[in-house]
């Protein structure tokens, strides 16, 4: 199972490296949204709640792009038949797709978070880096698990482009709440983390529930 998942993941990463479809588009999108927020809010620098909100809303919107492209190659080139005919169970497909999405998100954040610090954020990012990285990692796990599930759900429908954002964003509201609330004190002027533990606990709970749930129901998707 793990070996099969690793093979599919390697295929996805190689595909991304060669076509450069998802990650550059998602990164470009985050920068565009920063510009939109700059003009929409008419602010040169943000801090605290506003900064955390702008950062996480931007990342979630970028995730929508990644999720709607997650099964694109399989759909357009008919590769899904190959995957389904292969004697591997669906769990490995889910693990591979979620891992690919996770890595895409990390790659986007490597650019998007420093860019946010540079363009919009008032206080520096350096002080609370370990906490911020933990929040980002836990948030990405949740987005990746739910994202892979939603991508598989939407892959076989006619109104795919509609279903993905409508389904993904409400499902990610708890992630947004936990991440934004946990990040908010880190982005204030001269203030350390507070209440970090309970938000990380909520994120962890969300991640565990949705990873297990997706593994349990993924078998029923993408068969025939």
């Amino acid at each position: 199972m793990i070996a099969a998942a690793r093979t599919i993941l390697r295929k996805d990463l190689r595909l991304e490296l060669r076509t450069k479809e998802s990650v550059p588009a998602m990164t470009l999108f985050t920068l565009t949204v920063y510009v939109l927020f700059h003009f929409g809010l008419d602010r040169d620098s943000l801090d605290g709640e506003l900064a955390a909100g702008v950062l996480w809303v931007t990342l979630l919107l970028a995730a929508v792009i990644g999720v709607s492209r997650l099964f694109a190659a399989e759909r357009e080139q008919g590769g899904i038949d190959g995957l389904l005919l292969a004697p591997v169970d669906r769990t490995s497909l889910f693990l591979a797709k979620a891992a690919a999405l996770f890595l895409f998100l990390v790659a986007v954040e490597v650019v998007a978070v420093p860019a946010f610090g540079l363009l919009l954020l008032g206080p520096g990012l350096g002080g609370a880096l370990p906490e911020l990285l933990t929040i980002l990692a836990l948030g990405d796990v949740g987005i990746a698990a739910v994202g892979a599930l939603v991508a598989a759900l939407a892959a076989e429908t006619r109104a795919r482009e509609l279903i993905v954002p409508l389904l993904l964003l409400p499902l990610l509201v708890p992630v947004l709440i936990a991440c934004a609330q946990a990040t908010e004190p880190l982005l204030r002027q001269d203030q350390g983390p507070e209440d970090l533990g309970r938000w990380l606990a909520l994120l962890t709970l969300y991640d565990v529930v949705f990873v297990l749930l997706s593994v349990a129901v993924f078998d029923y998707l993408l068969e025939d």
Binding site: E156, R158, I163, L166, L167, L171, V173, I177, R198, V217
Partner: protein, 232 residues
Amino acid sequence: MYSKGFKPLAAATVVALATAMALVFFYAPLDADQGFVQKIFYVHVPMAIASLCGFVAGGIMAIRHLRSGDSSWDMRSYVAIHISIILGVGVLATGAIWAKASWGHWWVWDEPVLVSFLVVVLLYCVYYPLRFSIEDRERQARYSSVFAIAAGAFVPLNFAAVRMAEAYTHPRVLSQTGGNLPGEMRLTFLVSLLAMALLFVTLWKLELISKNASMQLKRLKRRLAEREAVAA
């Protein structure tokens, strides 16, 4: 197949609803600081509870569908979610009216239950486009069930998250729906809750009967058309 015991159920619903309304208007005391408008509580809260239980029940029926492969469970789950969404819209409307009357605003973001409810209703509204954009019957049932299960698990998580976020900024001193209701109000509330639960089950059964009947009619029409084609 679904019509067994429908008539007594419908009769019980009518009796329970009438009793609940009578209790609400003639028995339950007026609230000391909210006055008459507080009576919307006897519609709003039971409706919210029935709707949330319907969402979760839809998820459980979806699990049964996936386990047994019996498509009638998918139909049950679909109808449960359908009725819950209708009640859910009612909850948002009555909640907005109550908020306007007692706090002066149509919408308050620091009421965690209302906000979570909005997110849940927004999510479940996607059930329809998802279900009806899949043509293949069997696949439609399977995908809808997966959605119902994921969304059913999401409901309690979302409530926990929203409550945590609101409690953080606005500590709730007094719980409005907590166990500290005076006796007469509590009795009225419980009867209203029972009436709403019965109403839910009745509507659910009625919708199932009608869906079943129209499916049967379609089948018979098809058979008739085939026979006519053979005769011609």
